[in-house]
Symmetry: C2
Subunit: 299 residues, 2 copies
DNA sequence: CGATCGTTTGACGGTGCTCAATCACCGTGG
DNA sequence: CCACGGTGATTGAGCACCGTCAAACGATCG
């Protein structure tokens, strides 16, 4: 199985690529397909099987083997501008998805953890819109775009899982926007930490003990603030007794309070959009189950 | 034309819901299924057909009829928290996707234009993570989640198109992040306008004449600034001769200069992630293309 | 033990948020 | 017809927050 895909001539990512974007010489690409493979069933489990999938647990597909890739810390799995031909599902570790501007500024778009998708662009070809860099040594399942259609026909469960993951990814997008949208810098950080905490419980670990895999700069970029500000916000939250911070080791001491802080927004309800004047005065709803002033009562 | 769809009697946001959930009294919903239907082929064209689809242009599926929905300006197509059962493709008009916080603050996540997807959550059930409000009278194709699997099997081209749109949506996410990430407020606005301009050419219209469909507050929310700041940024760009602004009528006078302004980032390349100290000093590159320190050369 | 990089803290200045007033633009009703 | 209230857009004044610059400390690794 693995023998087939060992060293596919040149590393998929290493292909110098007729760069559309001036991406620089990758000095040493620490990316390699492992002489390992994982089962499809393992991957589906990571992706969170659709509910009805339990009905066919030991289908013939569960024994299908998939190539497993490894990236070392700091290495790029995907490079912005290079052609996309493989869809990845994170198996272990974590990566950051970054976008490089023309002037070299790097915007971190998201942190991706086990079960997360990378390289979705492969699904309909074209150049990678973003780069992906490993925050730690990580492994990923690789699904060749060319082989994908056949695989999906052959195994409907995979199709379901991919579909689900894709939409889930879209939903998570909103979370990222939430973090960047907060005004006060400590609120942004609080949201980030709450987000991380949630991901911890999803992974079956303690929601209070956080092991930050990324640098302050990365967090700063994601949140849209200066990295010094991230530091200051850390100490501020620590001073308030919500956290205990030791470099990249963070312990959440008061999760409810942290969540409370994360919830706070600058503006008034009226500041955002579409809140009608009448609603501001009349609506008593404490949990503003959305309503919108509906127009066009008559035509 | 409008005569056909005036007063569609009762609300349809309610229709599809055969008493599944107690709808929070939609006072008057200006949302209705049209007594019209569009062809599947029309929708696929809007979504940007996959390249290989041209091979089967006049397949049997091109005659399939789809229900068309209409939302009036200010009305909610989707409501955060309600069950998702329909996937929408914008046919005409435009909508905003918003997220309502517990305290009533509304975060605008994106503006959706013809060809765009709404209600993707319907693909795997659950509650709507976001609301969608029409910025103007709009029409949409509606794809029932229940019927979707069969439809896709029956018509592979639709499957392709959906897949493509989904990943495209994911890519556009990055654009939104870019806009919110810029530091200087006028840069954010410049990016937003450039983004809008690009969408105009995609729609086959002039890239310079912009008809803003959204309020300043909506823009402000999307960009993560106060709405007064949006106003100030508008006048600032106008004073510099890049724009001519008259309320929601914007004319781009100097597109290159606007793009230039949109490109500028606050910090120096060194501020973001992964740019090493050495790069700050040694790299003469005006376009300091990124690289990543690769670790773990050998395994 | 000395490099290098990441993190923290300080001081200062500027940007943008808050509060508030003004103007323009509706649709309604006197 | 023009007041009238309601809303959106623009502009101003004041001040807090945060970005910039700078330095010190800490960690990791050769």
């Amino acid at each position: 199985m693995h023998s087939v895909l060992d060293r596919p001539a040149s590393a998929p990512c290493a292909t110098p690529a007729p760069a559309v974007i001036p991406l620089p010489s990758p000095r040493r690409t620490a990316l390699a397909p492992l002489p390992l493979s994982g089962s499809l069933a393992d991957m589906l489990r990571l992706m969170g099987l659709p509910g009805d999938a339990g009905a066919s647990p030991a289908g013939p597909h569960s024994t299908v083997a998939l190539p497993v890739w490894r990236v070392h810390e700091g290495a790029a799995l995907l490079r912005q501008g290079e052609p996309a031909h493989t869809l990845f599902v994170v198996r272990s570790g974590s990566l950051k998805s970054v976008r490089t501007k023309e002037d070299g500024y790097e915007q971190v778009l998201s942190f991706v953890q086990p079960g997360g998708l990378l390289g979705v662009q492969a699904l309909h070809g074209g150049a990678q819109p973003v780069s992906a860099v490993a925050l730690e040594d990580s492994t990923l399942f690789g699904l060749s775009a060319a082989a994908l259609p056949a695989l999906q026909r052959q195994c409907p469960v995979l199709h379901e899982a991919l579909w689900r993951s894709l939409t889930l990814e879209l939903v998570r997008t909103a979370e990222t926007a939430d973090m960047m949208a907060a005004v006060a810098s400590d609120v942004r950080l609080a949201r980030f930490l709450v987000w991380l905490s949630r991901r911890m419980v999803e992974a079956g670990q303690s929601p209070r003990q956080l092991h930050l895999r990324m640098a302050r700069r990365d967090i700063a970029s994601l949140l849209g603030v200066a990295h010094e500000t991230v530091s200051r916000s850390f100490t501020l939250l620590a001073d308030k007794g919500l956290l205990r911070v030791d470099n990249r080791e963070v312990e959440i001491l008061d999760l409810p309070a942290l969540q409370q802080r994360a919830r706070s927004t600058r503006g008034w309800p009226g500041d955002a959009a579409a809140v009608s004047h009448a609603a501001r005065h009349a609506a008593p709803a404490p949990v503003p189950t959305s309503w919108w002033g509906s127009l066009q009562p008559a035509a």
